[in-house]
């Protein structure tokens, strides 16, 4: 275990009691491909990943994972993986997630990494445990290991099935700790009994009965509900505060440390009333940027770029191009807007601060809380109950620090639950982006030039998988490392960060060229890509849709679009049908077909849920989601003006897998969302001839483009 928890492995095993513990310490190099590994190392991620699997003396199997369950279904899929390689029934495994006191250190749950990176560690631990138990059984049964088989947690002699012993019997009296440092022998795909199937989710019953606990559902005697004084805009500074009105309310506690001002009460309504009575004044800087001026600003302050992909020579590319295309695309800031706002409950007891938090990164929060309250990290425990949606937005969040500070100060358990307005204010938005693409093709419709500049978003999704001899990708202001002043408030990872922006631009640019070449857009793509996984994925989506070749646009008010990409090492392609009301600018997506090559599919139904979820969530940023602002003031504070996808927007959705069992499982939580902008924009182009270069594609913007002709 790392020093973050201050507990060494020996101590950890002692706490677990007897039985068998398998610890895995796999180097990341074995599970990530070269470029992705290099990118992560640059960002300073540690190289170790760890899993613990415990087989207790009563045979109970517990998997400890620092990952968290926020709806993506990994509680179920990780359990499937452990059960598969340990050879025990799926139902017999208990999983503990996101608890810094008992789970192995983890960087956080994001990047569609759980299955492809943590999954191999879990499988290796389970496979190693199976080997240890088989060795013990060989001794116990007096039979050679080769003559043994395992089924449902029972080891038996193949030649005489009556000679058998259970894992529980084998674990009794043992105190074995084993570390796996190399890949253990995993079950082959053909042998799968639990992986590759879709058992009912483990979190289902609790979630349909209301019994599932989220951070805000923790209740302790004497718990106080806190509200904090918030600035009216980012960049504002508190100049004066008068809390006397709140203090006069019975049952209200006021905490005031510089600009950290909180009111606390035994129920949230009293706390809200107390907050209303606090008089605070702020210096608010004059706004210099807003929703419309941001795009030029991003380019102006860009600084020097990163250059993730370069090849050939742009000047040569221009010379070899029969036609060139210079198009600029824009997309707005977008909120994560999980249904559960950031929430935490903190309680201090015997020198240990325990915080129940809605977070995607419990170990990061543990460190942040410790720093905020002056505790050693090992005296801070973060427990992550179910998380009500994250999408990248709960990688950060100061609510846990706020709750811990207030719990320490008052000596009572304290809940800090952000209101929807606070959620919209402190969200780390998906960055606005300006993307300029200059591309070219020869007379035969072959790509000759790809000069790609992205400002504000980042690199992910900008990689050129088409065969373009002369190309340059320049990334200005990678999210998280943007130049000072680029964004007027915090930005962060939003479900497939940067990829939604990049695919919106790149896949429209390809479509523009296909139309100029008079070629069918699928054919044009296949004409310019040789990567076999992409070819197979494009063909799969076309087959599932029933694609017949023709060039766009048809301009009948109904259209179809296609777009593809690579995300989280998964290949994805979509086709969408739309109907456009050209008088009102309103667009309806009638059907979406999605094909994915994600390697071995651990849980087909769970993977489909993620594909459907990506498509449905994506429609929000396609049509309506846009965080409007004036300087540091956020104008959208609730769902009345910030529009999420609704039931009536639901298209018919078909999802297909491109079978690729030779490849270990790849990411599934994000890929299907990255093309939503382009696939709809390309369909609108087919329907109307209008090209939508800005997200979201509101009715007013669609109408404006249609009227331009």
């Amino acid at each position: 275990m790392t020093s973050a928890t201050g507990m060494d492995r020996r101590e950890f095993v002692r706490i677990l009691g007897g039985g068998i513990v398998v610890l895995v310490n796999l180097p990341m190099t074995s599970v990530l491909d070269g470029p992705e590994l290099a990118a992560r190392q640059r960002r300073g991620y540690p190289e170790d990943i760890n899993a613990y699997l415990h087989i207790a003396e009563d045979g109970a199997v517990t998997l400890y994972s620092g990952k968290i369950e926020m709806g993506q279904g990994v509680m179920t899929s990780l359990t499937q993986m452990a059960a598969e390689d340990l050879a025990v029934p799926f139902e017999s495994i208990h999983i503990v997630m996101g608890d810094t006191a008992s789970c192995p250190w983890d960087m956080g749950t994001f990047g569609s990494l759980t299955t492809r990176m943590f999954g191999p560690a879990v499988r290796a631990a389970a496979a190693q445990a199976r080997l240890i138990l088989t060795d013990l059984a060989a001794e116990r049964l007096g039979a050679p290991r080769d003559g043994l088989a395992v089924e449902d947690g029972i080891v038996y002699v193949k030649a005489d099935r009556a000679r058998r012993v259970s894992y529980g019997e084998l674990a009794r009296g043992q105190r074995i700790t084993h570390t796996v440092d190399e890949k253990a022998v995993l079950r082959a795909v053909e042998e799968f009994r639990i992986m590759g199937r879709s058992p009912q989710r483990l979190d289902g019953r609790e979630k349909v009965t209301g019994a599932a606990r989220y951070a805000g559902d923790m209740r302790f005697p004497g718990m106080l509900y806190a509200r904090l004084v918030r600035p009216p805009a980012h960049g504002a500074t508190m100049t004066r505060v008068d809390t006397s009105g709140a203090e006069a309310l019975p049952g209200v506690t006021v905490v005031h440390e510089d600009d950290f001002v909180a009111v606390l009460a035994a129920d949230p309504e009293t706390a809200a009333r107390a907050l209303d009575r606090v008089k605070a004044e702020f210096d608010v800087p004059a706004p210099t940027l807003d929703t419309e001026t941001i795009f030029d600003h991003l380019v102006r302050v860009a600084g020097s770029p990163n250059t993730p992909d370069q090849g050939g020579d742009l000047a040569t590319g221009r010379v070899r191009s029969a036609q060139t295309f210079d198009v600029t695309y824009e997309n707005a800031y977008v909120a994560h807007a999980p249904m559960e706002p950031h929430t935490a409950v903190a309680r201090v007891e015997a020198g240990t601060m325990t915080v129940w938090s809605s977070t995607q990164a419990p170990f990061t929060q543990q460190t942040a809380i410790a720093r905020a309250i002056g505790f050693r990290p090992d005296n801070v425990r973060v427990i992550t109950p179910y998380v009500g949606g994250g999408f990248g937005g709960k990688v950060s969040g100061q609510q846990a620090e706020e709750a811990a500070r207030l719990a320490l100060r008052t000596g009572k358990p304290v809940q800090v639950a952000w209101t929807r307005a606070e959620e919209f204010f402190y969200d780390t938005f998906r960055p606005a982006a300006t993307i300029r693409v200059i591309s070219g093709m020869d007379g035969a419709g072959k790509l000759t030039l790809w000069d790609y500049q992205v400002y504000g978003a980042g690199a992910r999704g900008s990689d050129v998988f088409y065969d373009v001899p002369n190309r340059s990708v320049r990334v200005y202001g990678e999210w998280g490392r943007a130049p000072d002043g680029m964004h007027p408030f915090a930005v962060g990872a939003w479900r497939a960060p940067a990829a939604n922006s990049n695919r919106f631009a790149a896949e429209q640019q390809i479509d523009i060229m296909a139309a100029a070449a008079g070629m069918d857009p699928l054919e044009f793509r296949l004409h310019n890509v040789t990567d076999p996984r992409m070819v197979a994925t494009l063909k799969a989506v076309a087959d599932a849709y029933g694609w017949t070749p023709r060039a766009a646009p048809r301009k009948t008010g109904r259209g179809r679009g296609i777009a593809c990409g690579i995300d989280a090492e998964t290949y994805v392609a979509l086709i969408a049908d739309v109907t456009v009301d050209s008088a009102a600018g309103r667009v309806r997506v009638d059907r979406v077909v999605c094909a994915q090559d994600m390697g071995v599919v651990v849980n087909p139904d769970g993977s489909r849920m993620q594909m459907e979820g990506c498509i449905m969530m994506g429609l929000g940023y396609v049509f309506s989601e846009e965080v409007r602002f004036e300087g540091g003031k956020i104008l959208d504070t609730n769902f009345d003006t910030y529009g999420l996808t609704r039931f009536s927007w639901m298209p018919k959705i078909d999802t297909v897998f491109v079978k690729n069992d030779a490849l270990p499982p790849k990411g599934g939580g994000e890929p299907a969302i990255v093309n939503m902008g382009a696939v709809v924009a390309n369909a609108i182009f087919d329907a109307t001839g209008a090209r939508m270069r800005r997200l979201p594609m509101t009715p007013a913007r669609v109408l404006a483009e249609i009227r331009k002709g």
Partner: protein, 159 residues
């Protein structure tokens, strides 16, 4: 001392000595520790706090205690009986009509009221009836499938 607030909650009479202008959502979640009903937006825009009052779906965040005086309130915790899931809960579970689960209580309670009023409703009517409930994870197709399945079941309720 004002008279206590009395209503029937999940089949059991309750009597609360508290201010009548308090919000049902917070009284459920704090005083009564029924945390299945969720806060999502606080102003009736998302449906996460949907409960059923006298057979109709209401937003608990916009409902005062005074407004439920003498009425029958059903929350997600009151839907399963003796450990047996309500057909809607079963259908949500079977069809995967949830992901993060945070909007799920509100979805199920809204669907419950919808099916109470229109037991054999069509998918289009389900979509229309659920329009005011927000789901960020994008579980919509499966939520509609789950409600359709429950609507199609004969004797689609405990009663």
């Amino acid at each position: 001392m004002p008279p206590p607030i009395r209503f029937t909650l999940n089949g059991t009479p309750v009597s609360l000595d508290t201010a009548a202008d308090r919000t049902l959502l917070w009284v459920l979640r704090t005083d009564l520790e029924l945390t299945g009903t969720k806060y999502g937006c606080g102003v009736g825009l998302c449906g996460s706090c949907t409960v059923v009052v006298d057979g109709k779906a209401v937003r608990a965040c916009l409902t005062t205690l005074e407004a439920v005086q003498g009425k029958t309130v059903l929350t997600i915790e009151g839907l399963a009986r003796d450990g047996a899931l309500h057909p809607l809960q079963e259908a949500f579970h079977e069809h995967g009509g949830y992901q993060c689960g945070y909007c799920t209580s509100g979805m199920i309670m809204n669907a419950y009221a919808l099916l109470e009023q229109h037991p054999t409703t069509s998918p289009d009517a389900i979509v229309a009836g659920m329009e005011g409930n927000l789901c960020r994870c994008g579980a919509h197709p499966r939520i509609v499938a789950a409600i359709s399945a429950a609507a199609g079941r004969r004797g689609g309720s405990h009663d």
